[in-house]
Symmetry: C2
Subunit: 272 residues, 2 copies
Amino acid sequence: MLSADRLSLNTATVKEQWNLEQCVEGCLRHGFGGIAPWRNLIHDIGLKKSAKLIRDSGLEVSGLCRGGWFTAEGSLTPAVLDDNRRAVDEAAAIGAKCLVMVVGGLADQSKDIASARQMVEEGLAITLEYARENQVSIAIEPLHPMYAADRACVNTMRQTLDLCDRLGEGIGAAVDVYHVWWDPELQDQIKRAGKNRLKAFHICDWLVPTQDMLTDRGMMGDGVIDISGIRAMVEGEGFDGLNEVEIFSALNWWKRDADEVMQVIIERAKNC
Amino acid sequence: MLSADRLSLNTATVKEQWNLEQCVEGCLRHGFGGIAPWRNLIHDIGLKKSAKLIRDSGLEVSGLCRGGWFTAEGSLTPAVLDDNRRAVDEAAAIGAKCLVMVVGGLADQSKDIASARQMVEEGLAITLEYARENQVSIAIEPLHPMYAADRACVNTMRQTLDLCDRLGEGIGAAVDVYHVWWDPELQDQIKRAGKNRLKAFHICDWLVPTQDMLTDRGMMGDGVIDISGIRAMVEGEGFDGLNEVEIFSALNWWKRDADEVMQVIIERAKNC
């Protein structure tokens, strides 16, 4: 039973409907506790204006989406590292609880996932140093293995926590039920993470069948994920952050009136 | 560099084109070393005729596809267990190196993946006993996590081998590169399996983008999987079985002339 004040709106959920200002207003109007903006919405109106808008709203910022994509240019180019530094700056400016990292998949034309993972680790280490200087927490989001080639080569909680162990303090995991619900080790790895490494918790649902690998995620309750069970695992470790609702849904929710989407989220969260 | 005699045709690769007799003839005509029939092709002409056809051909049978689906009826009903016993009988009759298990996903209307996994383990234990009596090897095929809900709730090599450790002798893994290529633990778990638990090796490729989660698998070389690297891992453990080619491709290969498909497989295998 989640009430609206325990929810955060990841702006991707209404990406086809609302700009940043509308998202902030929508969160306030519907009583959400927080927001998690995507960077493009911030860039649309500028960082200074975005930061003021968000800070004045009083909304908690459960995360900034997103840094990462370390493999995008085949090596850790200045452009890639600069972009990640800017992401840290933006996270600091809006007071985000964490900067979420979608780390990137295989480099173009490459079949070498081990070296992609090495590149990601090096990029995270460099960005983490800058993040520590700026008091920003990093949250690696392990993505579902079906995105290993083209979005993120960090794909399980175990792998994420192994990375964190090597990288040290200031970095942890963003646990999105969509990406991890299938994992036979989920409970053990959430325990291993503990409160210190649990930086964010994202909810949505896995639809059966799934029509599109990226943009057919479900509203809570429409799929097969035991969301309340996974929430109990993270809260059992002391995680007390907001429940961030992130639903990519070209086939359904992106086509609806955003206020309706917000109302349905609130209804469904009662059973999460 | 794989030659044709090191290949086995999984009949699903030409499921829209050839019946069992055509598959056997095609394998012989193109110099394949073996075949891996799906059960429906056997049922189409009857077990006795199928067994004679396959045994007379001299082709090695790298596996029978497939037993499993233990969760299909929500409990281990007599129908489910009988079907698995029949699958064992069929594997014995055609001299298959193993009976491949696609274990089943969540039961209908269920969100409880832990109890699905428990049901699968119990079903495997019962079937394994019968398989041992009949000198049939069981190969659990861990399926990609994107099939956890609707096809198989055994999704990694680690999970498969944990199951095997509990179940004892006569059972191991069917390693399909499509399902496991992304796994950060792949090398370690293949080492852990060793020759005794490596029952089958399946090849195809992961396309980027993937248009359909089930029926858009790629021909070797068209995707991002380092097939020769994974082959080296299993052969490094002493696996000396055939390389079974299993490609579900509604968008491409199922639409082509099957002899052309066989020729392309032989060409591409040279680089595997």
